[in-house]
């Protein structure tokens, strides 16, 4: 709180006081009171006003300085209501009560929204589990009734599966609840599951799949990581050039294990590269195919953050794309 601003704020009071002083002085002159008394009274009067003024100023200054200082240091500003003391002056009391009321109503609203997001998330998860039943039926029916269009139907079923998975993991990655389980997993097995999932696509697109040095154990949630690798591999399968291949390999460093997914596909232009993990970012490649949602890598990034892995992309347009996921080593062993 600044004195100058405070004085400016109180100028009406100050002018009225001086006006009152002038009237008093002119009365005193009119009644022919001695000059000494007039001066004494005036000085006393001005002194009183200044003392009252300073007292009022410092009382408020102390309170508001603490208040503003706390507010400044708070990360979540609404928590200020927990940090202020009840003031001993009237205006402050109004402020205090108001903040309390506002905070309370906001908290209620927030918890209302929290609940509705939670309900929505639960419904989405339930819906995805439900939709998997007809999908499973479909793949069984296709398997049991061999016909010429089977391949195409299977491909479409695979797309459906991938899209439903994307929603599921999007919902999971956006919510603060912890619904993953980190345990020791075999990198080999996770990559195998991804490979099997995309097997038809690999063959259909004549893409070679090369793996090496994957016999490593890492700490992760295997389902989540499977989703992440699947997203990256399906991107590689989407943006291809001639003689395509995808190479997955693992590197053991001093304090981390790196999983490297390399493809010789279209690559990402250097202007797009820094933004690929942004939500809904499609970039040049995405616009070309128009099938891109721009969500895949964003979800991957979020999931990696939650699991404590780091993910980074290197790429040269029309040369290659290289995704590296780093896992911290189990230091207890």
């Amino acid at each position: 709180m600044k004195l100058r601003k405070y004085i400016k704020d109180k100028w009406v009071t100050i002018i009225i006081s001086f006006f009152f002083l002038l009237i008093t002085i002119s009365f005193l002159i009119a009644f022919k009171v001695s000059l000494e008394l007039i001066i004494a009274l005036t000085i006393t009067f001005i002194l009183f006003i200044i003392i009252i003024f300073i007292y009022k100023f410092y009382r408020k200054k102390h309170y508001y300085d603490v208040f503003l200082n706390n507010l400044d240091r708070l990360d979540q500003k609404y928590l200020i209501s927990e940090l202020i003391k009840k003031p001993n002056f009237y205006e402050g009391e109004i402020l205090y009560e108001s903040i309390y009321e506002i905070d309370k109503s906001m908290t209620e609203r927030v918890s209302e929204y929290k609940q509705s997001v939670k309900d929505f998330k639960e419904f989405i998860e339930l819906w995805i589990h439900e939709v998997k039943i007809p999908l499973a039926s479909l793949s069984l029916i296709v398997h049991n009734n061999k016909s010429a269009v089977n391949k195409k139907i299977k491909e479409q079923i695979n797309h459906l599966e991938d899209y439903t998975e994307q929603i599921l993991y999007y919902v999971r990655s956006e919510n603060p609840e912890k619904d993953y389980l980190i345990k020791k997993c075999s990198l080999d097995e996770i990559v195998k599951n991804v490979a099997l999932k995309n097997q038809d696509n690999f063959r259909y697109k004549h893409t070679d799949f090369i793996v090496s040095d994957l016999d490593k154990t890492i700490l992760t949630d295997s389902k989540w990581l499977e989703f992440i690798i699947n997203q990256i591999v399906s991107n590689s399968l989407k943006y291809q050039r001639e003689n395509p291949y995808i190479k997955i390999t693992a590197l053991e460093k001093k304090d981390e294990i790196q999983l490297i997914i390399f493809d010789n596909g279209k690559g990402i232009s250097s202007s797009d590269l820094p933004r690929v993990f942004e939500k809904s970012f499609t970039g040049e490649n995405g616009r070309d195919t128009s099938k891109s949602t721009g969500m895949g890598l964003y979800i991957c990034y979020n999931l990696c953050q939650k699991l404590g892995h780091t993910i980074k992309i290197e790429s040269v347009k029309d040369k290659f794309t290289k995704v590296t996921i780093s896992f911290a080593k189990d230091t207890l062993v």
């Binding site: 039943i133 499973a136 793949s139 079923i157 793996v211 389902k223 989540w224």
Partner: protein, 220 residues
């Protein structure tokens, strides 16, 4: 014939699963009475159970827990829930394997086969027209002649042997190979098959693998 019990409440899946199992040379049985699931299982006495987590009356994991108190029948959990927690929980209750919906049917059959094999007393070798196929050593043996098969060739031969007399599609072979972490492409598969053919010929079996154009291969 191996009897496989399907415990699942979706009728379409039930019917299709049964058809798939019947086509693959198993006897698929559908559990109808969910009130006394445990008694029913004992009555049917299957060789393997495909168990869904979301079934009426009793949760699949609970049923498995109850079942494990009295029986060691191999169980594969089939579920649309896809979380690590569910898998760990199921395995800790004694499931032999865990498959999430929507599953790849070929893969499911492979898993069923693997679980049945694991729980059976392992056979040292399979006899095929006087040729001993010794999987553990990766060789085929005719009298004193030993021919070494590569890992891929053994996987292919094994897959064909498991479906002897039936058509095995290239897709099925591919899935089996990839499931064994041999990520080969179409050309390599053709090369492997022709190499396997010549090795079988060397062992004295001519034209063992017949090609059905557009369909797949049959081991006669």
């Amino acid at each position: 014939m191996k009897k496989i019990l399907i415990i699942e409440d979706d009728t379409t899946i039930n019917v299709e699963l049964k058809e798939m199992l019947d086509n693959a040379g198993y006897e698929g049985v559908i559990l109808k009475d969910f009130d006394n699931s445990l008694d029913e299982i004992t009555n049917i006495n299957p060789d393997l159970i495909l168990l869904d987590i979301n079934i009426p009356k009793i949760n699949g994991q609970m049923l498995l827990k109850e079942l494990r108190k009295s029986s060691n029948i191999p169980v594969i959990m089939v579920t649309s829930r896809k979380s690590e927690v569910d898998e760990v929980l199921s395995m800790s209750y004694g499931a032999d394997d865990y498959v999430t919906k929507p599953y790849n049917p070929t893969l499911l059959l492979l898993k069923i086969n693997a679980v049945l094999k694991r729980t059976n007393i392992p056979t040292n070798f399979i006899n095929y027209h006087g040729v001993k196929v010794i999987q553990a050593k990766g060789i085929i043996k005719k009298d004193d002649l030993e021919i070494i098969l590569t890992k891929n060739e053994m996987i292919i031969l094994n897959c064909l042997l498991n479906n002897i007399g039936n058509i095995v599609t290239r897709d099925d072979l591919m899935t089996d190979l990839w499931n064994n972490k041999e990520y080969i492409n179409d050309n390599a598969l053709s090369v492997n098959i022709s190499r396997l053919r010549s090795k079988l010929k060397e062992a004295g079996i001519d034209d063992a693998i017949e090609t059905r154009k557009g369909q797949g291969y049959i081991l006669k």
